[in-house]
Symmetry: C2
Subunit: 232 residues, 2 copies
């Protein structure tokens, strides 16, 4: 079956204290959300609505540096201005998730306090409003070692399992698959980014036709335990 990725327009600028649940519900309504849909929301508008925004004081670069250090629980690498840090959530990303793009002037945006909780709230409202059972992903744009460019990943999630585990699945020749864990949540976040873009002002996409595994998943499960990680 084909998969459709629909940009959700008409959301506009979100500011601290805005009722994001209502804004998104209104923007989704024309698309008649169905059970099994996946709604992908960039974290920026979630962070802003939740007030995870900090006013810049003094020199912006110095301020950012200090903010990053206070948001980080550990610094993984540092070169010049670039800090790769671990956040409280366990994510490892540039600047511990602190970002100035699409922030209001003279402010910086932090990650949501608990992106899985934010996703659960959105799912609850959408399910109730539209009489469906769908999944929600909150996305951010992360870099990665070895490959140029950034891609979108899931930092919050509700209503689906983030990892498709193929353990025990056999390929067409009967051989058990080597690769068993696919991060479908990250693949969905990347797919959604293709219709959102960074400068287009479209912070949400609806993915229709993907057969996810429903369940009590959370994006926190995407964090590789440090003991299994060869690159810390």
């Amino acid at each position: 079956m084909s998969l459709e990725i629909i940009p959700v327009e008409g959301i506009g600028v979100v500011s601290p204290g805005d009722d994001l649940l209502t804004i998104l519900t209104d923007a989704l309504r024309p698309h008649h959300p169905l059970s099994g849909d996946v709604v992908v929301v960039t974290h920026k508008i979630v962070s802003k609505a939740e007030g995870q925004v900090v006013a810049i004081e003094g020199d912006p670069e110095e301020f950012k540096q200090k903010l990053v250090e206070s948001e980080a629980v550990s610094i993984v690498r540092r070169r010049g201005d670039l800090i790769i840090a671990e956040t409280r959530h366990g994510f490892i990303c540039a600047n511990a998730g602190v970002d100035r793009s699409n922030a209001a002037p003279d402010t910086m945006i932090l990650l949501p306090e608990d992106p899985d909780r934010s996703a659960r709230r959105l799912k609850h409202r959408f399910d109730h409003e539209f009489g469906v059972d769908l999944a929600v992903i909150i996305s951010d744009t992360f870099g990665r070692p070895w490959r140029r460019g950034l891609t979108d990943v899931a930092i919050g999630l509700a209503g689906m399992r983030p990892i498709l585990d193929l353990k025990g699945t056999r390929d067409w020749s009967g051989y058990e698959l080597d690769v068993t864990e696919i991060s479908v949540a990250d693949e969905l976040a990347s797919a959604a980014d293709l219709v959102m873009g960074k400068a287009s002002g479209i912070p949400t996409a609806l993915i229709r036709g993907y057969q996810y595994e429903p369940g009590e998943g959370q994006a926190a499960d995407l964090v590789r335990p440090p003991s299994e990680d060869l690159f810390r």
Copy 2:
């Protein structure tokens, strides 16, 4: 505009020496490929058709270990059976791309010798056959540090630029974007994987509606130069 991801069915099992260009052209024909479409092909069928297949001799595990070492130009990390290695192409991935899933019995599959060249050949044939100008991505499934699960990435490419460079682009508040390089080729590969899957026997997808930047791109450009890489 919505984006559509269409699984391309009817390709069947590909064996060394098969005429993949004709097999894929026949499978794509019912979908009436258009200019601007992106055809994503998993490398497995490309490698097989190109004869990048090795018969296992002796103990499979020992054989695999030796094969991985001969395919690698450097070993980045090693723990037990797991080898993270750099390939001749510059990709850093598990087992230097050597894989047994979806291989014929008693064989292992290597990466294509030059996946960008393979992509150019496919594009040339598709463009000629359908009278269009489209893009081709050859994908593989890679792990990454810090996050559980694997995602599909582009290892070969033709007809588009793999990276969308937003340098100088401003967000809605006029602030120049922090994030400037998006790996759209990897996002397209991940999106395509959502309709292909590892065990479904569907090795190709057609993506319609994505506005890529046409050009002489190559997936080799996705390799981060070692001098810029903090994780080697």
